[in-house]
């Protein structure tokens, strides 16, 4: 089935007020284009889930889309804080953001349980520290074979997962290389999956290299072709991370005024991703474009 549509159509059809969403990616393949479209469509009361909420999640918070954040590490990696998140969660804040927090292993295990169709997942973790004290979702179970006590976390089924990938076909068979994050678990855990691809390729291209397919089309609801949809994040083999932007973001996001100005110019003030890309400084995309580094061919013959 051909599921190809625009980002606008994919978000309108799959993300509703009050939904729980994952826009996945671990530094790599973070679909800013999807986050910006959610802001433009004015979604409210979302539960935003990701191990590493970063700039685009902070923008969703600043724009008023998010009621609850489920996470394990929230920051601007190597640079600083997420300032909308801080403003909404520190002492003195009237409009408190609900936080539900784990360590990476714990939140990943929640998605893994859901992806496996199980009610919970066991892990050897959380002894004696305070994470399990403040999060009552983290409990323990006694192993029926060894008698050992293990921590457990409950399955987490997001309403929607957005997965950015290097290439996909029109049915949503999606191929990823480089850092894989928790994309597979987040996709299989979700009720609906939106695949966003740098390139849409014929199914024969996918079939020629089947080991690289992270998600099969049978679990995908929408496919969007959105080159550069991850900027300022990166796409291995396509473009580097815009590290300068992550550094600049610290200043932009520290003050509510400059933060709102940014959202006005780069999110509300543009129609779509193409409009965003046109607002970037001239020559930036060429500077970020990846240098080729192909691997040796793989023979799937028999």
């Amino acid at each position: 089935m051909d599921k190809l549509c625009s980002m606008k159509e994919a978000i309108a059809a799959s993300v509703h007020d009050g939904d729980s969403i994952v826009i996945d990616g671990f530094t790599h393949l973070i679909c800013f284009a999807a986050g910006h479209e959610i802001i433009r469509q004015g979604r409210r009361n979302l539960t935003a889930i990701r191990l590493t909420p970063d700039l685009v999640y902070d923008q969703l918070i600043e724009a008023g889309c998010v009621k609850r954040l489920v996470f394990s590490w929230a920051g601007n990696p190597g640079v600083g804080s997420l300032h909308a998140l801080r403003r909404r969660s520190e002492a003195g804040c009237a409009e408190r953001l609900e936080l539900e927090e784990y360590s990476h292993f714990g939140l990943l295990s929640r998605l893994q349980a859901a992806a496996a169709g199980l009610p919970f997942w066991p892990l050897d973790n959380y002894f004696g520290g305070d994470i399990a004290r403040v999060n009552t979702n983290i409990r323990t179970v006694r192993c029926p074979y060894t008698g050992r006590e293990l921590a457990t976390v409950p399955a987490l089924n997001p309403d929607v997962t957005v997965l950015h990938c290097q290439r996909a076909d029109r049915e949503g068979n999606a191929q990823v290389w480089g850092l894989l994050g928790s994309q597979k678990e987040a996709a299989f855990a979700a009720k609906r999956v939106v695949v966003v691809a740098e390139e849409i390729v014929p199914t024969e291209v996918i079939r020629a290299d089947p080991n690289r397919t992270v998600v099969p089309g049978i679990i995908v609801s929408h496919v969007v072709h959105e080159p550069w949809g991850c900027h300022p994040s990166f796409v291995q083999g396509f473009h580097d991370r815009d590290n300068d932007f992550y550094v600049k973001w610290e200043d932009i996001s520290r003050q509510p005024k400059t933060y709102q100005d940014y959202l006005e110019a780069f999110v509300h003030g543009v129609k779509d991703r193409r409009g965003y890309l046109e607002r970037l400084e001239a020559g930036l995309l060429d500077k970020l474009r990846a240098k080729p580094r192909p691997c040796a061919g793989v023979d799937y013959g028999y």
């Binding site: 671990f26 530094t27 790599h28 191990l51 590493t52 996470f71 394990s72 590490w73 929230a74 920051g75 990696p77 190597g78 804080s81 998140l85 801080r86 969660s89 520190e90 002492a91 927090e101 784990y102 360590s103 990476h104 292993f105 714990g106 990943l108 893994q112 892990l123 050897d124 973790n125 959380y126 002894f127 004696g128 520290g129 305070d130 994470i131 403040v134 050992r148 006590e149 290389w177 480089g178 850092l179 894989l180 994050g181 928790s182 994309q183 597979k184 678990e185 990166f234 291995q236 580097d240 991370r241 590290n243 992550y246 990846a290 580094r293």
Partner: protein
């Protein structure tokens, strides 16, 4: 040692150099970004060419060509031995017991090596909201040896962490062993003044100062009455060759130095 900047190490350079000396050739190390990353690359460029670096983002056996700006830098992927999903990192490599050395820092550390990266103040109504655990909690639980790297001050070396994100040797009076924790816990706290080790009860003890630093200075920078070993060693200082390597090759843009 002169006072010339070319031959005098900064605090960060001393910490990276000292941390590198804790790493042995062939160690499988779970690398964090910043000084730990620099320490690992320094060790690899000097006495530990076979250091096996694993990153939380999924790169296994990475040999990054440039200094990674983040833990998920694309340079960690290029030329690494394997790239795996995070489930494999946490389940097959960390929980299964394949990590020899972990590196962590934090906003607060206490005398038992407990670390806080979650909040300053009350959890429900914090003065400062910090990033949270990430993989730190499980690294502290599972790594066979844990190295802590932190600059010392009475604000960061505290009597009691506001929140224990990553467990050290004792929590609320209970030891790692009593709690059934698989990893060995912290072995060193590498600071900008010297090095703390841990005694048999799991308490931090000052065992080493850098040249020009006195144990009294270290005690003054600690927020609890710091135990001092009967003999405090003076640690070696990085020589000109090491400083050249750090400044010109490993961190030429001075991201972390």
């Amino acid at each position: 040692m002169g006072t010339d900047a070319a031959t005098t190490a900064s605090a960060s350079e001393r910490m990276a150099f000292r941390a590198a000396r804790e790493l042995h050739d062939g160690d499988v190390v779970f690398v964090g970004i910043g000084l730990p990353n620099l320490a690992c690359n320094l060790a690899r460029a000097t006495h530990a060419p076979g250091l096996f670096m694993i990153y939380e983002s999924g790169a296994v056996g990475a040999i990054p060509e440039r200094l990674p700006v983040s833990i998920g830098d694309p340079s960690l992927v290029t030329d690494s031995l394997a790239v795996v999903g995070q489930a494999d990192i946490f389940q097959c490599l960390l929980q299964r017991g394949h990590i020899e050395v972990g590196f962590l820092g934090g906003a607060q550390v206490d005398r038992w090596g407990n670390l806080n990266t979650t909040v300053i103040g009350d959890y429900a109504n914090p003065k400062v909201r910090l990033p949270g655990s990430g993989g730190a909690c499980e690294i502290a639980v599972h790594a066979r040896r844990l190295l802590i790297i932190m600059r010392m001050s009475p604000r960061t070396f505290v009597e009691r962490c506001d929140f224990v994100t990553s467990p050290g040797h004792r929590m609320n009076g209970r030891s790692r062993k009593e709690l059934g924790m698989p990893g060995g816990g912290p072995t060193r706290i590498i600071t900008d003044l010297g090095v703390l080790s841990f005694d048999e009860t799991g308490e931090a003890v000052l065992t080493e100062v850098y040249a020009g630093v006195t144990p009294e200075q270290v005690k003054a920078a600690c927020g609890w009455p710091l135990k001092v070993a009967p003999e405090v060693k003076t640690g070696a200082s990085p020589d000109a060759a090491v400083l050249h390597l750090l400044r010109e090759k490993l961190d030429p843009k001075r991201l972390y130095l």
